[in-house]
């Protein structure tokens, strides 16, 4: 354990090593270590997500970020707030990458109040800019779960029934300062079918357990920064749609990007609709996406047309959502002894050291645990199957 690189400030890391000592003590007894349980749940998550379910592809998600005093805690480096905001940027990117036809809004809560950092919108750039700006804000007072949820509901309740309504709370504080009884609000949330999930940064809080259980969300508490990231990325995947949610046909426009050559004298540069409210930036452009219904011009997709309300997407966007509906089959876990001839993982080419290995049910290639997770969570296709297909 002393192999860690010397830190500039030793005292910052001093306590972390006492944790490691504690872990060693636990392993001596007959109890399974928490890590083992964690690994099991990780595996379970992969297998679980492969049941045939309807997924809510159009998501409306509000992320509530706790900005209370406890966010100044330095157990995440450099502090909780900075670390959280950085991870959130990654989350927003990933979220729109995987859910191109969904929207996100960000709420911050501090000093017993809740404020909207960004409105519910489908443009990642705006959110990321806002997050970058928020790094410098000060963390004061207590958060208010009630006020943040209330604020989120105000917008979410007007969202159409076929879309999902979700709230994700990043909660660092162990206390919440509420103006009214939160149990009533939980009932309201339940009746509005808003799913609330919480990621706790310090410990399990009873009210969050109740809140998530009642609304069908998930509740996790982070162990460290990498675990935090993992939990956050878990929320990138669309949740299964509840059976009671409406199904309806959605009108969508697939505008083609029209590029007009500069040589064409008739064309005049025009404003994009999305620049109208944001101001700034290069406003006048020549080409763009034109809404097939009202001919309003946009420079970026996906977007909801400001004039006629049509959802404008590009075909690749929908295609990217495809793997959620037809996920890669779970690999079969079996003891390494069964695969004596395959000593190496087919993906990373590393030696198979784990007790158990995983095999693709179609091509029977063998993978290690880490690669299995990577394939299922990021690649969404078996590399060996594709290789075989191209070879033949």
């Amino acid at each position: 354990m002393d192999e860690e690189p010397e830190r500039a400030k030793r005292w910052e890391g001093g306590y972390e090593r006492t944790w490691e000592v504690l872990k060693e003590d636990e392993s001596g007894s007959l109890k399974a270590t928490v890590e083992e349980i964690l690994y099991q749940s990780k595996r379970k998550r992969v297998t679980q997500s492969h049941a045939q379910v309807r997924l809510g592809m159009m998501r409306h998600l509000y992320v509530v970020i706790d900005c209370s005093r406890s966010m100044e805690d330095q157990d995440l480096k450099p502090n909780r707030l900075t670390s959280t905001l950085k991870l959130m940027e990654g989350f927003i990117d990933e979220y729109f990458d995987q859910n191109p036809i969904s929207q996100v809004g960000i709420i911050t809560t501090k000093n017993k109040r809740a404020e909207k950092l960004t409105e519910l919108a489908g443009n990642p750039k705006k959110h990321i800019a806002a997050l970058k700006k928020a790094v410098d804000s000060s963390c004061v007072g207590e958060p208010s779960l009630y006020n943040s949820l209330r604020l989120a509901i105000q917008t979410l309740k007007h969202m159409p029934g076929h879309t999902s309504r979700e709230i994700l709370i990043i909660l660092s504080s162990l206390t919440t300062c509420d103006p009214a009884n939160i149990c009533e609000l939980i009932k309201t949330l339940k009746s509005l079918k808003v799913r609330v999930s919480v990621i706790g940064l310090s410990a399990e809080v009873r009210v969050c357990t109740v809140l998530t259980r009642e609304t069908g969300g998930s509740y996790h508490v982070i162990l460290d920064e990498s675990h935090f990231k993992e939990l956050l990325m878990h929320h990138v995947k669309p949740p299964p749609a509840s059976f009671s949610s409406e199904s309806s046909l959605i009108r969508m426009g697939f505008p083609q990007h029209t590029v007009t050559s500069l040589s064409d004298q008739d064309v005049k540069p025009s404003f994009s609709m999305s620049h109208l409210d944001s101001g700034g930036g290069p406003a006048l452009t020549l080409g763009g996406y034109f809404c097939p219904q009202c001919q309003a011009k946009y420079t970026e997709l996906p977007v909801e047309c400001k004039v006629c309300g049509l959802t404008l997407v590009s075909a690749p966007h929908l295609a990217r959502s495809f793997h959620h509906l037809f996920p890669l089959q779970a690999f079969i876990e079996s003891p390494a002894d069964n695969y004596q001839q395959n000593k190496f993982c087919q993906a990373c080419q590393g030696q198979l050291k784990d007790k158990n290995v995983l095999a693709c049910p179609l091509c029977c290639s063998v993978f290690c645990g880490e690669c299995d997770l990577f394939i299922h969570e990021s690649l969404h296709c078996c590399p060996c199957c594709i290789h075989n297909r191209t070879a033949t």
Binding site: I37, T176, V205, R206
Partner: protein, 655 residues
């Protein structure tokens, strides 16, 4: 499912069983087989109640001649209701499994509203009621007198049983008691006068009966039909009622004299402590009351009340109390002490004299129980050290065992904090109580903990006075204000209504996420010095041992509340450097002790905070029932595997 415990078929109404439940039942069965008494400790939340019930019911069915009745005593009404609930589940399971309508009659006496009159008790197979029905001589006489000898008596939550015994035998007399007693005596006299005019024969009949003595009762005791009443000593039964109190008028006059004497005694300016013989000598010198009539006082009053056909006995509680006191004080020359105090502890300026007739020997009250019933089982989550209970209660157990919790994850985290961040030793011992640095360090500990522990924290103090002092100085130091940024603060007071309000609000604050701290007192009653002396003389228990035992059992009881089941988790912080010493630590229950390792001894506040943070994060990770299966939760097949049985037998810790 069905279990086979050393040849006994036990129906267990749940699909899964904890390994410690299995070994608990095993020990219990051995106790019953030996027809002896047992002391069993098993952590709360591991299903003691259902293990007890299912085994004993099975035993009753298998050997209906050996065990006829189960008497289950618990402490409070909610606990009794819980027992009944479990019992109902068990009975439903029986009906489902065996298909026959069972003829088990179970009876619960919890509160006045479902009080039952005794003929039914005789026929019931299972009786569930409060300790007092068995231990308090006044009530036991009414309710439990005729319980069969072949009963199994279980005292659940018995960690305080010695105090219950002592309380049930102790008498407190105030001026108010005496005034009410005076009224009672007046009423008695009037009634006697009236009866004399209308029905003198009745009084004559009573007189005749008293001459013959209490033969009936004596016969009953010798033939072993009744549970012995410690207020009714053997000598009383063999002799006739002395002449001086035989007639009703004389007896009333006697009571008056006794009353006047007590009134005179209550006029004291300073605390008086004397033994029973001293008291008797004094009463003889002053008002010429002999020991003998005093001894018959209780019985004589009962007889009079019966003769006068007074329906509402409750009105005569004061005079009954006084006569019981008279009998006790003249019967037991040892084991009791009389303390007369001019004021109460809380109001040292207002004269409110109290005569405490306190029992120092818990074995007096419980002796008849041990003598009468073939098996008495004492059980609780916290009974350590086990050997002290047989000593103070004066009985010889055939089994003593302590079981631990088998856990799939380490869900309790006892930490012993011995120093503040400034390295000043943290201790509530008397010499350093007033020390500014110590108080500040305690405050810091609570402040830091309030920032890392979610929802609720309960902090226990050793006494109200100590708590008040500390809270006052925390207020001055601004610590309270800082704590309130993290959690609300509730304080237990001596006022019951206030406290229950505080408790309710505390719970609410924990539920809705605000978070709360409850400042509470672990030991409301302080041990009387006299009791210590008595213990030393009688049972060879050193004062220090008993004090340590008493302190540690309170501590264990406090922290034991953190865990109510296997999916719960809790931090236990012992904030006193003395806990780190092995002689103190060794007195904690085994299930707590085994989680204290060298890394959690003598920590500073900062270290404790870091450990807690880590622990809470680990515990917040998802944990499902499947994770427990096979380790701490067993199905029938798993239980039957050879390997598991071996493991279990190793686990049972014989002392």
């Amino acid at each position: 499912f069905r279990l086979n415990i050393e040849g006994l078929l036990v129906y267990f109404p749940y699909d899964y069983i904890y390994p410690e439940q299995y070994s608990y039942m095993l020990e219990l069965k051995r106790t019953l087989d030996a027809k002896g008494h047992g002391v069993l400790e098993m952590p709360s939340g591991t299903g003691k109640t259902i293990s007890l019930l299912s085994l004993i019911v099975a035993y009753q069915r298998a050997f209906p001649l050996d065990v006829t009745k189960l008497i289950y005593c618990s402490r409070t009404v909610p606990e009794i209701e819980k027992v009944v609930e479990e019992l109902r589940k068990l009975m439903e399971f029986y009906a489902k499994e065996t298909g026959e309508v069972n003829n088990f009659l179970a009876l619960s006496l919890s509160s006045r509203k479902n009080l039952c009159i005794h003929p039914e008790i005789i026929h019931a197979n299972i009786v569930v009621y409060s300790y007092h029905y068995l231990l308090d001589p006044k009530i036991a006489d009414l309710v439990s007198k005729e319980l069969a000898k072949k009963s199994v008596v279980v005292f659940d939550e018995a960690h305080n049983i010695d105090n219950v015994c002592i309380d049930s035998m102790s008498v407190n007399i105030t001026r108010r008691t005496l005034d009410r007693c005076q009224n009672n005596v007046d009423t008695l006299q009037n009634t006697i006068h009236k009866i004399k005019e209308t029905d003198a024969a009745k009084l004559r009949e009573e007189y005749r009966r008293l001459v013959e003595g209490l033969k009936e009762a004596n016969v009953a005791r010798e033939t072993d039909i009744y549970l012995a009443n410690p207020v009714l000593p053997d000598e009383v039964l063999q002799e006739a009622v002395p002449g001086s109190i035989r007639t009703a008028e004389h007896f009333v006059g006697f009571l008056r004299r006794f009353l006047e004497y007590l009134k005179a005694r209550l006029r004291v300016q300073h605390v008086v402590q004397e033994s029973a013989p001293q008291f008797l000598k004094d009463i003889f010198d002053k008002v010429c009351i002999d020991r003998k009539p005093l001894r018959f006082c209780a019985e004589r009053l009962q007889s009079l009340l019966r003769t006068l056909e007074i329906a509402d006995i409750a009105d005569f509680s004061a005079v009954t109390l006084i006569s019981n006191f008279a009998t006790l004080v003249s019967t037991y020359s040892q084991g009791f002490t009389i303390i007369i105090e001019p004021f109460e502890d809380r109001t040292p300026t207002i004269a409110n004299p109290v005569l405490h007739f306190s029992c120092m020997d818990p074995s007096i009250a419980i002796k008849p129980v041990f003598q009468r019933f073939q098996s008495v089982v004492i059980t609780s989550g916290t009974l350590s050290p086990l050997d002290i209970y047989p000593r103070i209660l004066d009985f010889r157990p055939v089994t003593m065992a302590s079981f631990t919790m088998t856990l799939a994850r380490t869900c309790l985290c006892p930490l012993i904090v011995g120093r503040g961040n400034d390295q000043v030793a943290l201790s509530s011992k008397f010499e350093t109580r007033e020390d500014f640095a110590v108080i500040r360090n305690y405050g810091n500990l609570l402040l830091e903990m309030s920032a890392v522990v979610p929802d609720g924290i309960v902090a226990f103090f050793t006494s109200y006075v100590y708590m008040e002092n500390i809270v006052a100085s925390w207020y001055e130091q601004g610590i309270l204000e800082n704590i309130q940024k993290n959690k609300l603060i509730f304080i237990e007071t001596q006022d019951a209504a206030e406290t229950s309000m505080a408790l309710e609000k505390y719970q609410e604050a924990c539920e809705n996420g605000r978070g709360a701290i409850l400042l509470s007192v672990a030991r409301g009653k302080f041990t009387i010095l006299a009791r210590l002396e008595y213990l030393r003389d009688q049972f060879q228990i050193r004062e220090n041992d008993f004090l340590t035992f008493d302190a540690m059992r309170h501590a264990a009881q406090c922290v034991g509340r953190a865990i109510r089941g296997k999916t719960d988790y809790g931090l236990m912080i012992f904030a006193d450097k003395r806990y780190a010493r092995s002689d103190k630590r060794g007195k904690l229950p085994r299930w707590i002790q085994e989680h204290i390792n060298d890394g959690s001894l003598n920590l500073t506040v900062d270290e404790a905070v870091q450990l807690s943070k880590h622990f809470l994060r680990q515990m917040a990770q998802p944990f499902r029932q499947e994770d427990q299966l096979g380790l701490s939760l067993l199905t029938l097949e798993q239980l039957q595997s050879e390997e598991m049985l071996q493991k279990i037998s190793q686990m049972a810790h014989q002392t």
